[in-house]
């Protein structure tokens, strides 16, 4: 799985959960900059990513996955 396609698929997950973020701003999105990024959105994002990538995320990591870049990094590790 290439980095580009992982990022593209992750971006689609973000688009589904945060439809108001412009596509061009997804790469820089974080819980600090996206007002809709609350606990329900985080749980939804986890489920969408798990479904998309066929992975299972550990609950203790949820608190660290609060930006697109953090998600990318974590997925790269999981999928390696």
């Amino acid at each position: 799985m290439s980095e580009a396609s992982t990022q593209q698929r992750l971006a689609q997950c973000f688009q589904a959960v945060f439809p108001d973020i412009p596509v061009s701003e997804i790469a820089g999105a974080s819980a600090d900059t996206v007002s809709d990024w609350d606990s329900v959105a985080q749980v939804t994002l986890v489920s969408v990513v798990e479904e998309e990538f066929g992975v299972m995320l550990a609950e203790e990591r949820y608190g660290e996955l609060l930006s697109f870049s953090a998600w990318c990094e974590h997925l790269e590790t999981l999928l390696r």
Binding site: Q12, V17, V43, T44, S47, E51, E59
Partner: protein, 579 residues
């Protein structure tokens, strides 16, 4: 549908009126609400539509199912309600998420608590089921039980709880609440209950199960219009064998002849016929052997249900055209079943509107069972009305009627001994009226379709007039065949919707209905919200005659009682208005 797809559908721009739903559960509604919104939007948009109406789902508080139901019921009276319960809602000790120290008397105490809470929910829901659509989802989480017992043994405790739940669900279903079938999780997916997710988020279901449950709930909340007629092949479909070659005595459908799956299909035809589904045969055969086979007394359905029987050597598409004409229904309301791929291909090519199904070969009985289940779904209707039962018989009468009409139409009408009964009652809710409004195309004032809660709300407004007309004559009863709904304002009745079943055409029911509306409301003017549609040609023709031609594509038409009296043709039906 994946969760991501559901979110994307839920995010699409909304067009048209909003569909509003109360969704009550005691858990975190999370992905179930997401899937439900997506499936509702898809169903409300209709097949092939690129635009989606808005769907608003109001949820309640975590852990308070009964309170959430109370809150929903205290709001808008006509809004639909979806209730999904889990065991923890019936007794917290039954939940996996809640911790408690098991007590020796749990087995005695818990069923009592469950019965009490089920009783309260039943009272809440059945008290209002006449006013709004209610759908109910039942628990699927495993029961937390710590009892002793053999591995694989069902304990009296769990059996008692399941019995309480089943009896509750049956009472609710009898009262008119739509109880969702237990959704089937797709093969290869995780189970319905997701313990990990439940612990982490309070949402108890796996995403595949949430999707499957949402499909069931959405189909009960917004049922799609069923197909109307089934045209079936005969050889190697209704029976095993070729009647023209083997002879009527040597075609089979019994277990002894290894042809039971064909008998099952015959039972399916019997069941569909009893529900008012129109049935006909289209077979490449001579008429004589077909008639002989259909006269066999051991058939598992009444061959009288098959009308017409097209036994000839022409293209099947031509037979289907004639059948649709005899039934007076559109080709898009037809389902065609044949064991021959070539015949299906010919029909698909000539009549793309017709839904075609292959009847599987005899060595695939499981596929035949699947076809039977598919057909049941394609013709599924909420309830079988008197009109459904009358439909097939009235079509036969229509054929006789058409013959008599061709000889002398005016003499026929004057000698019909026709009676039109117009009911102006605005309650209780009449599903047949809504069904007619939403499925009639040819005599339809403007093609408007009604969402159930909007219809219920509209008819309860003080100045609304609702007329539901039933018709019978010497050829038999046609049941409820016309609906007009509108408002009385400024000395006029203004119709927002007006439909007449095509089975009642040529009887001047349309004029008698106007007469009844003017008489009952005692107004001097009729106004019609007219809109031409691709399919309401018969309405245009009738209104063209009444308004002396030249109808616009859309707009409000107006006629005074005086002009109506001058322009309508002689009316022979005895008309009765009932408040």
């Amino acid at each position: 549908m994946t969760l991501q797809e559901a979110l994307v559908i839920g995010n699409r721009p909304a067009v048209g009126a909003e569909y509003s739903l109360h969704f009550c559960c005691g858990f975190q509604p999370l992905h179930l609400a997401t899937f439900l919104k997506a499936h509702l939007r898809t169903r409300l948009a209709g097949p092939g539509q690129g635009t989606y109406p808005a769907v608003s789902i109001k949820t309640g508080h975590f852990g308070d199912l009964a309170g959430n139901i109370d809150k929903a019921l205290s709001s808008d009276a006509a809004q639909p309600l979806a209730v999904v319960m889990e065991w923890a809602d019936l007794d917290p000790r039954l939940g996996f998420r809640e911790g408690y120290r098991p007590q020796p008397d749990d087995e005695m105490a818990i069923p009592g608590e469950v019965a009490g809470r089920l009783g309260r929910i039943e009272k809440q829901l059945t008290g209002v089921v006449g006013l709004r659509r209610i759908v109910l989802g039942l628990p699927v989480a495993p029961l937390a039980t710590w009892e002793a017992g053999l591995s694989g043994q069902a304990s009296p405790f769990t059996l008692e709880l399941r019995a309480l739940l089943a009896a509750f669900a049956a009472r609710c279903a009898r009262a008119g609440i739509r109880v969702a079938e237990l959704a089937v999780v797709p093969l290869g997916s995780s189970s319905a209950y997701d313990f990990r997710g439940h612990l982490q988020t309070g949402f108890p279901y796996s995403t595949p199960y949430a999707d499957a449950l949402a499909v069931n709930l959405a189909s009960l909340l917004v049922p799609l219009p069923p197909k109307k007629g089934l045209v079936t092949d005969l050889d190697n479909t209704v029976w095993a064998g070729i009647v023209g070659d083997d002879g009527a005595a040597n075609v089979h459908w019994s277990l002894e002849q290894h042809a039971r799956a064909y008998g099952l299909y015959q039972q399916c035809l019997a069941s569909l016929g009893a529900q008012g589904v129109l049935l006909a045969a289209a077979s490449k055969n001579d008429h004589a052997p077909v008639s002989e086979a259909l006269a066999r007394p051991d058939l598992l359905f009444s061959p009288a249900l098959l009308f017409p029987v097209e036994a000839n050597w022409g293209p099947k598409s031509e037979s289907l055209r004639r059948i649709a004409k005899a039934w007076k229904i559109g080709l898009d309301a037809l389902v065609f079943v044949d064991d021959n791929e070539l015949e299906l291909a010919e029909v698909r090519q000539s009549l793309p509107e017709v839904e075609c199904h292959l009847f599987p070969p005899a060595f695939q009985p499981a596929a035949i069972l699947e076809l039977v289940q598919t057909l049941r779904r394609r013709f599924a209707r909420e309830q079988v009305t008197e009109e459904d039962r009358l439909r097939a018989a009235s079509l036969r009468s229509s054929a006789e009627y058409a013959q008599a009409e061709a000889a002398d139409p005016e003499a026929l009408l004057s000698g019909l001994k026709a009676s039109l009964t117009c009911s102006f009652a605005r309650g209780p809710f009449d599903p047949r009226a809504l069904e007619l409004l939403n499925k009639t195309n040819q005599f339809n004032l403007n093609g408007e379709r009604w969402e159930e809660s909007n219809f219920r709300t509209f008819v309860q407004q003080p100045n609304t007039v609702l007329c539901v007309a039933s018709y019978e004559d010497r050829f038999g009863s046609l049941g409820k065949i016309a609906v007009a709904v509108g408002i009385v304002e400024n000395g006029a009745v203004r119709l927002r919707s007006w439909v007449i079943s095509c089975r009642a055409f040529s009887r001047r029911v349309e004029f008698s209905t106007i007469q009844a509306l003017l008489d009952y409301t005692n107004v001097s003017t009729l106004r019609l919200d007219w809109q031409s549609t691709p399919r309401n040609g018969p309405t245009r023709e009738m209104l063209g005659a009444l308004f002396n031609g030249g109808l616009p594509e859309a707009g409000m038409l107006e006629i005074t009682r005086e002009d109506f009296e001058k322009r309508h043709p002689p009316l022979y039906a005895a008309t009765h208005c009932m408040p």
